[in-house]
């Protein structure tokens, strides 16, 4: 029932996650942030069993921080995604595997190239221009297909995201009213209101 959306634009990556924490049929909280910054220019959004997901995201976050302290160099988006995928794939083959789906978006601060990686709990990873997790994927993939184009400005990206959210609000049986939307560009990560 959870939703993740990601869009690659001209020099930014746009990530959105529903802000609802639900258990069974009950909404426990609205305003839950299902994202974790991995470093200054990379952001992860995730869904899954609440405890699992947060724990895994913060584990990755901490390990990447450790890497930066040890080696005094930040990792690229590709390296972060590969590392995270590896952790998920190893976890899948352990007794207690993490059931976490995620999107990792980032921008190379030097070249300003944005990247987005789609990853599921089975350790499958794809580099994509737009991606979605959850039931949203059924509704939004077609919207992305129709309206996504290369080198979109931030305004165009936000407009595309709004189209997706509109589609979800009209067609998805579950009403996810609140979304947290974040932009990653060469200036860093910031939250925007959509």
């Amino acid at each position: 029932m959870e939703t993740l959306l990601g869009i690659v634009g001209k020099d930014y990556t746009l990530l959105a996650a529903d802000a609802v924490s639900a258990r069974s049929i009950v909404v426990m909280k609205r305003g839950e942030d299902k994202s974790r910054p991995l470093n200054d220019h990379n952001l992860m959004v995730f869904t899954g069993e609440p405890g699992d997901a947060v724990n895994f995201a913060e584990f990755i976050q901490a390990n990447l921080k450790l890497y930066e302290i040890r080696n005094a160099t930040p990792l690229s988006t590709k390296a972060i995604a590969s590392y995270t995928r590896r952790e998920l794939a190893d976890s899948l083959r352990s007794r207690n595997s993490y059931a976490v789906n995620l999107l990792i978006g980032g921008v190379d601060p030097k070249t300003k190239t944005p990247e987005l990686y789609w990853m599921d709990y089975l350790g499958a990873m794809v580099k994509v221009n737009h991606g979605a997790h959850g039931y949203a994927a059924y509704f939004c993939s077609s919207v992305f297909d129709r309206h996504w184009k290369a080198d979109m400005s931030l305004d165009e990206g936000i407009a595309l995201l709004q189209k997706c959210l509109h589609e979800l609000r009209t067609r998805l049986v579950v009403n996810q009213s609140v979304f947290i939307v974040k932009v990653v560009d060469s200036n860093g990560i910031r939250e925007i209101q959509v």
């Binding site: 080696n71 160099t73 990792l75 690229s76 590709k78 390296a79 995604a81 590969s82 590392y83 590896r86």
Partner: protein
């Protein structure tokens, strides 16, 4: 001699605060064939002197002093070749492991650091002798471009613009110091390496059997290209630099 009691102990300081086995290991290297590296703006050169130049030796075994560690890093060794083989295998494993985890090639300094961590262990944990090898590493990564490092048996490492290890290394270093200039190109660096090697090697004439040569550079698509010189290429290089032309007169 004050050193005797502490000679055999790799991990115990002498009263003067020295680790003799480590110092002896470094001494062993200063008798080994020279290996040198020169950092240029568009690449790195590694050159090494081979000591085992017997006429009966099979030359087809390939390089014995210059090794490729990963797709972006190579190294030249001075010291015990067998020890070097162990460390080279280790380095290759580390570089490959990094690649499987992060999907990118390992930054050069990290690889050097890993090697040095292993080497350092043998100066602290007892019952073993230190590795009797020094390395000159040449590599490229996106963080710092082309890089040149050396490491010794104590586990120390440093980055250089040009450096030399092995026999006659102080001599070679002084030539490098006087002849190295900033903004040197790869082809100038190759000439410099040939010049230094020709002046520091004991033998009167240099042949392709006695030296190894390799360069690291970027090709047109921006990929790292490792080039190990074939014997013919080395002969061509020596001819071009005119290394052996003046020697025959002196020999008579």
């Amino acid at each position: 001699m004050g050193s005797r009691r502490y000679d055999s102990r790799t991990t115990i300081f002498s009263p003067e605060g020295r680790l003799y086995q480590v110092e002896y290991a470094m001494e062993a290297i200063s008798h080994a064939g020279t290996a040198l590296g020169v950092l240029a703006t568009d690449g790195v050169v590694l050159a090494a002197e081979k000591r085992t130049a017997s006429k009966l030796l099979e030359q087809s075994v390939g390089a014995e002093k210059v090794y490729l560690l990963s797709d972006t890093t190579c190294t030249a060794v001075a010291g015990l070749t067998s020890d070097a083989n162990t460390l080279v295998t280790y380095a290759r494993q580390q570089a490959a492991r990094y690649r499987t985890t992060y999907g990118e090639s390992m930054p050069v300094e990290q690889l050097v650091q890993r090697m040095c961590d292993l080497k350092q262990g043998y100066t602290q944990f007892g019952g073993l002798r230190p590795f009797g090898v020094s390395f000159v590493y040449a590599g490229y990564d996106t963080h710092r471009g082309f890089q040149l490092y050396t490491s010794d048996p104590s586990g120390n490492y440093a980055g250089w613009r040009a450096n030399c290890i092995g026999a006659n290394s102080t001599n070679a270093q002084s030539i490098l110091k006087s002849d190295y200039k900033d903004e040197i190109t790869l082809s100038e660096a190759v000439s410099l390496a040939v010049k230094v090697l020709s002046k520091t090697m004991d033998s009167a004439t240099i042949t392709s059997e006695k030296i190894e040569f390799a360069t690291l550079s970027l090709d047109k698509s921006g990929r790292v290209r490792f080039h190990s010189y074939s014997p013919e290429e080395i002969e061509g290089l020596l001819k071009k630099e005119g290394v052996n032309t003046q020697q025959p007169e002196e020999e008579k």
